[in-house]
Symmetry: C2
Subunit: 129 residues, 2 copies
């Protein structure tokens, strides 16, 4: 079965979605991602959807699910590279992806995750004092 590769870059896991998502691939991705978060202790998940021309309610729900599960494992999910047309369609569909942070591109997404890690670092330092 086809699987979407998950790339570890520092404390972030990067996923680029290029193929048409269907039930099995989506379920496998969720499973693989949670396993990798647990295994690596990653604090951020970056999902690039720049090659997706259509994001329907199924993919929207999948992204929401992944973000929800990752949050439980203390990792933040950022979706990046969304095309303007996709954003318009999502809003028209009434899917606001409220549980998911978005960024314009991978670089900004990385920055978002890094900032969160930094502020967490300060919070931990505050606890130690």
């Amino acid at each position: 079965m086809e699987r979407i590769p998950i790339l570890k870059m520092g404390e972030t896991l990067l996923v680029t979605i290029q193929v048409d998502m269907h039930d099995k691939i989506a379920a496998a991705l969720e499973e693989d991602l949670t396993a990798r978060i647990a295994e690596t202790g990653a604090r951020g998940v970056l999902i690039d959807i720049s090659s997706l021309e259509i994001v329907d309610s199924f993919i929207g729900r999948m992204l929401d699910n992944i973000a929800g599960v990752s949050r439980m494992l203390d990792a933040e999910t950022v979706v990046c590279g969304m095309r303007p047309a996709v954003a318009i369609t999502l809003v028209e569909l009434g899917l606001s992806l409220s549980g998911v942070k978005t960024a314009l591109n991978v670089e900004r997404g990385m920055e978002l995750i890094r900032k969160r890690l930094d502020s967490d670092g300060e919070a931990y330092a505050g606890l130690e004092e």
Copy 2:
């Protein structure tokens, strides 16, 4: 037409190959990559092939081509995530990918490119003295 997304991360362009490569996709990828290198001034190209179970002579040649063209534009190509079985097959096929640097995973590939940038920086600094 399907296109493989190219992600810019600092001075590196990252490509994850997940789909079956055929002539058109390979040609489009080469074209897109050279355009992005010229546009962004990227110094490294990282190609992740961890999801490829088979690398035949066609893909081998494509990787070689991309590395050759990138080198002309002063960007280094690193192929990462090759499966052990793929490496065995490539050697058996007599394809040694001599023009391509390889790394075990994306993190090490990034490190390789960063090291090259650092040593270039020193070389430039030497010229300025």
